[in-house]
């Protein structure tokens, strides 16, 4: 089947192959070429050989010197002349599971615009005035002094503005005990005995709640499916989320687990019940760190409510009664126990490339839901479920995200779900927040509804939001796979069609390959960490980590400076990621440390023996 002139332009650097028999003397045009999108299959089945094939750009306009049948590649010896290569139109077709390589690099730092081109010819460089102006900007540290929390701006050198600041005060906890009163005594947290019953009594659907304190020595303990892992944090004074001071307890997390009365896991389907040390990928942004004391709540909810919205929500509400009492104790804790202080500044950098982060969160119902913007970090009170907000985009500041503006009910797929703690230390937000080469405009949360028409409704709003924000680039992330990929790809289309450069991030690999695509899905970062490229039921294993964030931001910068992203391979190939990581390490001079995967978890004696004998 021949292709259109426009399509030929998009594929000007792809091999030229005849779509039908053509006689000698034919002057080649787009009517004569086969669609390059089908070549991978033809090559792998042996029907097509592309050795020595000219590109469409080189063959277009040349005259055939011999008669050729369909599906023959056009080589140098069958045309009268080879046309000079024209400038590439970058777009490549939709990627099945894509990861892609970045070739050259452009960095703006220390007042210099550095462009490194490894190899190439016919290169056009266009340097937007924005970058040139931004290149002269001073480091953001100068902007700190006059910062006013809560929205007032202070101007600084180079037009940089500190929009707001957030201070995190860390308090260390070394022991958690039960006592007569919930209090923090130095570094010991006491949780009131009998609080469980009060928590249960607040929710009609919750019939039982058991509280355990699990320390590092006791990680080999059975656990029902893990519904959420949450930090324990509270606001100081009347400060709103994302501004002012937040107090947080270190080395301790809340973990919610549960079943129905008859023992069916809440969040059936690939749930993560089992022995904690074998089911949790420690130190993922979303998970407990190895060594953390885990305050685990095991709830029992009414039968048959595990797959209905009120069930998981009631479990979260009951558990939050306990967390809230700890928050109140944390508010009272003497300042002298504060072990460290962190300050986050949201800096706007007018003149630099404006970039937004679009985070797709689940909104199909039941535990596919998230509570947005509670009063307390990762709390319940004051928050609205994105399902009730009809999943439309909600713009948050990066500091609101880091201050726990998402209380995740966390959906299926333990390996790829982002629990509440993930947002508390979201690697992509942190990477963009500290990047002085971009103007980080904000984080857009958008729910993923069930029905296709609603998916397209919300993704059109995402596109319009990015347009109104006047973005130069956007990164779109999603968690897990399934019908959420339909809107994920639609978000990319809606952003891309407005001329905004866009990079997508998802778990894809082998099992989560995209089921849909469009011409804007050209730059993708795969969050997979599992050896086999599958949902391996290990909590947090395939979630977004710093190694993914650094690839995404560099890929976006490459796109925004007009570089083409290499086409993905046909099948998932983990080497693409390693090559990109190597490339990034060699260009930036900073090694990118890769996180461990399921192979690092304990292996039983029985299987050790089996493997040793094998």
């Amino acid at each position: 089947m021949s292709i259109s002139a426009e399509y030929a332009q998009e594929h000007i650097n792809d091999p030229a192959v005849l779509c039908c028999r053509r006689e000698a003397g034919t002057t080649l045009s787009h009517h004569d070429f086969e669609d390059p999108a089908i070549f991978d299959d033809l090559v792998s089945s042996g029907l097509l050989k592309l050795d020595g094939a000219l590109t469409i750009g080189q063959a277009m306009g040349s005259t055939l010197t011999k008669t050729l049948d369909s599906l023959n590649a056009i080589t140098k010896d069958c045309v009268d002349k080879v046309q000079e290569a024209k400038a590439s139109a970058a777009a490549t077709p939709a990627a099945p599971t894509a990861s892609a390589s970045v070739g050259n690099t452009t960095t703006v730092s220390g007042g210099k615009l550095k462009i490194h081109i490894g190899e190439g010819k016919g290169i056009d460089l266009e340097i937007p005035m924005g970058i040139a102006a931004g290149a002269g900007a001073a480091a953001p540290s100068g902007a700190a002094a006059g910062a006013v929390a809560g929205g007032a701006a202070s101007s600084a050198a180079g037009g940089e503005k500190v929009v707001r600041t957030l201070t995190r005060k860390h308090f260390n906890i070394t022991e958690v005990k039960r006592g007569d009163k919930t209090k923090i005594d130095g570094t010991t947290l006491y949780i009131r005995k009998g609080i469980e019953k009060e928590a249960v009594d607040t929710q009609e659907l919750v019939h039982d709640l058991k509280l355990d304190i699990i320390t590092k020595d006791n990680y080999h303990v059975y656990s029902e499916t893990i519904m959420d892992t949450q930090p324990i944090a509270t606001k100081e004074g009347d400060a709103e989320l994302g501004t002012g001071v937040t107090r947080v307890l270190d080395n301790v997390v809340m973990m919610l687990t549960g079943t129905t009365d008859e023992g069916v896991q809440i969040g059936e389907f690939g749930s993560s019940e089992g022995y904690l040390d074998e089911n949790v990928m420690w130190n993922r942004p979303s998970c407990p760190d190895h060594g953390d004391i885990i305050i685990r709540g095991t709830v029992k909810i009414e039968n048959k409510k595990n797959m209905e919205r009120p069930g998981p929500l009631a479990a979260h509400k009951a558990f939050d009664v306990i967390t809230q009492e700890i928050r109140l104790a944390l508010k009272e804790l003497d300042e002298k126990y504060c072990v460290s202080t962190e300050e986050f500044k949201q800096v706007r950098r007018p003149g630099k490339k404006k970039v937004a982060l679009v985070k797709e969160i689940m909104g199909q119902g039941a535990m596919h839901d998230n509570l947005i913007l509670p009063v307390e970090p990762v709390g319940i009170l004051g928050a609205h479920p994105n399902v009730d907000l009809c999943n439309v985009p909600v713009v948050c500041s990066p500091l609101e995200v880091l201050d726990g503006c998402i209380h995740a009910l966390t959906c299926i797929g333990p390996a790829s779900k982002e629990q509440s703690r993930h947002y508390w230390r979201e690697p992509m937000v942190l990477e963009m927040l500290f990047d002085e080469e971009i103007d980080f405009a904000g984080v857009i949360f958008v729910g993923s509804p069930q029905i296709n028409s609603e998916k397209f409704y919300v993704s059109r709003r995402v596109g319009m939001t990015c347009e109104a924000m006047d973005c130069d680039g956007a990164i779109v992330t999603t968690e897990g796979f399934g019908n959420n990929h339909v809107d994920f790809v639609s978000h990319i289309e809606q952003i891309g069609m407005r001329g905004i450069k866009v990079v997508g991030m998802s778990f894809c690999a082998k099992q989560g390959a995209l089921v849909v695509g469009n011409k804007y899905v050209t730059a993708m970062v795969d969050n997979n960490k599992s050896e086999a490229g599958i949902e391996n039921e290990i909590l947090g294993n395939n979630t977004l980590c710093p190694e993914d964030a650094v690839r995404a931001i560099l890929m976006l910068k490459a796109e925004m400076t007009g570089e083409a992203i290499k086409k993905p391979e046909k099948e998932w190939n983990p080497n693409v990621k390693s090559q990109n990581i190597e490339l990034i390490s060699s260009v930036t001079g900073k090694p990118v440390e890769l996180v461990k995967n399921e192979k690092s978890l304990p292996m039983s004696e029985k299987y050790k023996k089996k493997y040793a004998n094998a």
Partner: protein, 104 residues
């Protein structure tokens, strides 16, 4: 008292598996939605060929999901991967677990 258990998880702990041979041979199947929950959907495969329960995000829908709607998908046959039992999954089942605990 928690005793050390010899289950372990992930692909690394699985019994030796053979490579499935027939999974690329897909056939067209239709089904009827029999249950719709906030988080999941159940369906019977037409021709009394069994039933499936899946999370909602694994079904692509143009309209609101309702009991009685027809759905379609391509599927191959299900192949056994090994003769041995994967203890990890046996012990994950709540019933088996409580039996184990009683024996400990």
């Amino acid at each position: 008292m928690q005793t050390h258990n010899d289950t372990r998880r992930g692909e690394q702990c699985e019994p030796e598996k053979k490579t499935p041979k027939y999974i690329d041979k897909v056939n067209y199947y239709e089904g009827i939605i029999t249950e719709v929950h906030d988080g999941s959907v159940a369906l019977d495969i037409k021709g009394r060929l069994g039933s499936i329960r899946i999370p909602k995000r694994m079904i692509i829908s143009d309209y609101e999901l309702k009991v009685g709607q027809e759905v379609a998908f391509n599927m191959s046959f299900i192949e056994q991967l090994s003769a041995s039992v994967n203890e990890h999954y046996i012990k994950k089942s709540s019933k088996t677990r409580s039996d184990n605990e009683n024996n400990e």
